[in-house]
Structure formats: structure tokens, C-alpha cells
């Protein structure tokens, strides 16, 4: 269980995150949504330890982690992917995954077959000896997820995993996540702008806006929350039908 309490972060004058609290339950898929620049990625950076918090607390299963360096948090089971891909360019796909797995070598790896299954499931088997640069974008994104999985995470945080994917691919990602949860139970924090995906995948949502917590709750509550609609979902006042569509999908 991951608990974020009153966490703040400012960069010089910019208040990127202001006293945000939410809890990600065991085995829960928790969506983190909000307009651009709301502070979602920053929140992920704070949890994973790439940024230090300006105030507040972060606990993993009751242990405070906000003082620990990023690598130690990763070893404790906080894994993530990146909005701008951060793969190891000169290492093959196999070794990209190995870097994360190495940490686990000393301890007895629970479920040694997990990775092999994930590699098959995420369609990486055929490109194990390739370097990431030569892969299509979608495959790189999948590699990021499998790599994070090699840490056997307790909390897996995905930053816009479906960006740049078409519907079919997004659907497949959804299936893969479902498979993943069955295969390796863990909490998942999911940042996405694809509302259909978010609404169908997540059990709980936290909405941020301008660094503040706007709402947190079940998808159904959230999608009818006036403030959220105003700040994020939009009210369908735009000239093309796009937003109406989106609404529709949201309700579905």
C-alpha cells in the first residue's frame, strides 16, 4: 500500500505540487489524471525519488520512503516508466531488462518465470538482441513496462503508457495490464489522458489540477464531479464534436 500525505514540491517559484494526499491500495489500479502541467509526472518523480519532496510524507507499506534515494526505493518495489522514454540505448533489449533484474539476483527471485512470460506477452521475444533504437515506438513503450516489471514491483507506476497508440494498441495494452495483474499482483499507478482507457482500467482515480488535489474516488464519482468536468474533462462547448465523443466514452 502506497500512501502519499500532504506532499508538496516547488521549483523556485513554481508550485508544481501542493499538499496532495492519496492512497493506493494493494492490488489497486489507481489512475492519476489532470490537465497538462497539473503535476502528475512530478508526483511520480516524487514517489520514485527522482525529485526530493519539499514537504509531506510518502509511505510504502507503512515505511516512510521519502528520505531514501531513488535506487533504494526501486529495490523496495517502486517501479516506473517514463513519459519521455529512458531506455538504455546501447544495450540490447535483453540487457535492458537484465539491468533491472540484477538487483534481484542476490535475493531469491519470487516467480522466476514472470519475466519470460511477460516478454512473450508484450511481444518482445523476437527482438531480444536488438537495441531499443531500432524498435518502433510502441514496442519501446512496452519494453519500458517489462523492464519495470523486472523489479518485481509492489507499486508499478506508468506515465502515459498509451500515448501515441491507436485504439487497437491501447486495447491490447489494456489486456496486457489485466494479464499482468493476474500474473503479478501489485498496485498500479496509471497516468493517462485517454479517458476511455482510464475509466475502464482504473478502480480508483485521483485528479490533480494546478498542483492541487481536485478529487479522489471511484471513476463513476469522478466523472460526474462538477469541478473535474470543469477543470479537466471539458463541457462539450467546443465547436467540433470531439468533446462530445469523449464524454460519451467516459460515460460508457
Amino acid at each position: 500500500m502506497l500512501e502519499v500525505r500532504n506532499v508538496s514540491k516547488n521549483f523556485g517559484g513554481v508550485q508544481a505540487v501542493q499538499s496532495v494526499s492519496f492512497t493506493v491500495g494493494d492490488n489497486e489500479i489507481h489512475g492519476l489524471i489532470g490537465p497538462n502541467g497539473a503535476g502528475k509526472t512530478t508526483m511520480l518523480n516524487l514517489i520514485s525519488g527522482l525529485l526530493s519532496i519539499s514537504g509531506g510524507e510518502i509511505e510504502l507499506d507503512g515505511t516512510p520512503v521519502h528520505g531514501l534515494p531513488a535506487e533504494q526505493r526501486a529495490r523496495m518495489g517502486i517501479a516506473r516508466t517514463f513519459q519521455n522514454l529512458r531506455l538504455f540505448r546501447n544495450l540490447s533489449v535483453r540487457r535492458n531488462i537484465e539491468v533491472a533484474e540484477i538487483r534481484m539476483r542476490g535475493s531469491k527471485v519470487a516467480d522466476p518465470a514472470l519475466l519470460s512470460d511477460a516478454i512473450d506477452r508484450f511481444g518482445l521475444r523476437g527482438v531480444m538482441e536488438h537495441t531499443p533504437d531500432s524498435l518502433p515506438y510502441g514496442q519501446m513503450r512496452r519494453l519500458e513496462i517489462v523492464r519495470a516489471l523486472a523489479l518485481r514491483p509492489k507499486v508499478l507506476m506508468l506515465d502515459e503508457p498509451a500515448a501515441g497508440m491507436n485504439h487497437a494498441e491501447t486495447d491490447q495494452l489494456f489486456e496486457n495490464l489485466t494479464w499482468l495483474r493476474a500474473r503479478h499482483p501489485c498496485s498500479i499507478v496509471l497516468i493517462e489522458h485517454d479517458l476511455k482507457f482510464i475509466m475502464s482500467a482504473c478502480e480508483k482515480l485521483t485528479v490533480m489540477n494546478m498542483g492541487r488535489l481536485l478529487a479522489t474516488g471511484e471513476p463513476a464519482e469522478i466523472s460526474s464531479n462538477e469541478e473535474v468536468i470543469k477543470a479537466y474533462l471539458g463541457q462539450g462547448t467546443h465547436s467540433n464534436g470531439r468533446t462530445k465523443n469523449e464524454k460519451l466514452e467516459t460515460d460508457a
Binding site: 533504494q72 529512458r86 539491468v99 523486472a150
Partner: protein, 343 residues
Amino acid sequence: MNPSQRRGLLGSALLSLLILLIVGAYYLWGEAWQARILYATFVNLLVVVGLQVFMGNANLTSFSHAAFMGIAAYAAAICVTPVAMKAISLPDAPWGLNAFALSPWTSALIALGITGFLGLLTGLFIARLTGVGVTIVSIAILVIVHSIFLHRTDIFKGNQALFGIPKVLDLPQITALVILAIFGARWFRESRFGLQLRACADDEIGARAMGVNVYRTRLVAWVLGTMFFAVAGIAYAFFLGTISARPFYFNFVFLTVAMLILGGLRSVSGAVFGTLLISIGLETIRWLETGPEILGIQLPQMLGLSGLMLGVVIVGVMAFLPSGLMGNREIEDIIRPKRQETP
């Protein structure tokens, strides 16, 4: 042992075979004076392979190896030189440095220990830095150590000779050391530290998020690298019998770095090939420079060609083969390419 480590062993064995072939060729056909050239090449090889450990895996440029080599060479030399000799070569040495002499083994161990300790000490700083910072601090180390060699003439004799070091090592021993070094560097490259370090080199933040302790990984590589330089320094002193501060400075740094990048700094095989190629190339050019007669044609004297060629090699390689001859590949990747698993 995982598959890459198995391939690492294979690759090291192939490289060692190459080294043994060269040494064998010398014993069969070589002339006595070529043993010197071979020995010097192998000393350089030790250094370049050591450079690969840090520079290659971390993709950071460091220039301090000549300093560590010098430290080890002096430490070993001061320990091993007989007291009678030191009375002449180091008459003013403080702390009773000229009043004792140790066996070559003990001296080498002490030299390794001192260099390793200084490696650790500097590593604590270096490992915190990235990019040009590492280069600058490494240059600082080089300059500081050189200044001390020059300044404490009572211990190091500065630019004058510290002589009388017994000749302990010869071609067979250094061949063994080189082979050991190749296995060592290759083992490191394929070890968890090597892999993590290469990951850091590609993306430090990504690596941290994957649980890699960047600081510790760099530190391990740095200290390990200094041990290679230390061995090279000891081998240098134990063969030449005379050392001074002069060879442990920028010229040597340029030469060895050129060797590394010609071969390709990401690969141990590259380090080996680069060293061999540049050594052979320099010998050839040195011969050409003096204006020899080839097929009845008298060539003109072209002094300075070797220095020029060194520069041209560096620039040319960087421009046309930015990752060197070998790039990311090791020798076994060429001889036995990896089989692509079918999906």
C-alpha cells in the same frame, strides 16, 4: 554464469590466443630488441584495458591514469630498490625510505595497496560527478600528482631518474598479466556492475529508477581501473629499471586514449585491437620517418609524422567510426554472431 558471461569467457580466450600468437611469433622469428617493443606494448595494453573498465563502461573521459601508473611505479620502485642503490639514487629520502628494501612481491603488493587506496580516495569525489566534471577532476589529479613528483625530488627525483630498480619482470610474466587483465576487464564488463554502469552511461535517471546505485557502481569501476594502472606501473618499473616523472604525463595519456578510441571504448576487444594497431602503426611510421629505401626508392625524411598520425587517427576515427573499430561488439560477436531467437 549467464550466457553473456559465458560469451565473455570465450571472447577473453580468443583475445588471449591472439596475444599468445604474437608472443609466439616473437620467440620464433623476432629479434632480441623487439622484445622491448612488445613489452612496452603490453604495458600500454594493461593501461588501455584498464581505461576501458571505467571510460568504456561509464562513457566518461578520464585522463588521470598516467598519474596512478606513476604512483604505483614509484611506490614499487622505492620499496624494491636495494639499500646500497638507494644510497646513491635517493640519498635525501625522508622517513627512512632509503633504509629498507623489500622483495618484489611485497613491493608490488604495497604499490597496489597505495594506488588502490588513492584510487578509492579520488573515486569518492569522481563518482559524484558527470560529464566534463569527471574530465576536469581527472586532469586535476594528473596535474597534482605530477606536481608532487616534481616537487618532492627527495623522494621521486622529479624529472631526473630514479634508477637502480632491479629487473624483476620479463616478457613471459607480462604476457600472463595481460591475459589476466583481459579476462578481468571482460569479466567486469559482463558482471552486474559492468552492466549497471553501461546502463548509467546511457541514461542515468533511467538507471536509478531501475534500482542502480550509480555512485557505487562508478566507484567500483574507478577503483578497479586504478588497479589495472597500478599493475601497469609496477610492470613498467620492474622492467625498465629506471623511472622519472616525465613519462607519466599528458603525452602518455594522449597515446593510450588514442589506442582506446581507435578500437572502440565500449569493448574490451576494441581496447586490445586499438593498442596493437597503434603500436604497430607507430613502429611502421617511425621507420618511415627516417626516410628508408623501399623498392629502390629513397623516401624523404618526414619527422613528426608519428605525432601527426596519432592526431589524424583520433580525428579520423571520431569522424568516421565514432564508436571505434569494434563499437559495441566484442571479438566473439564477429567470429560467432549471436543467434537471433525466433519469435
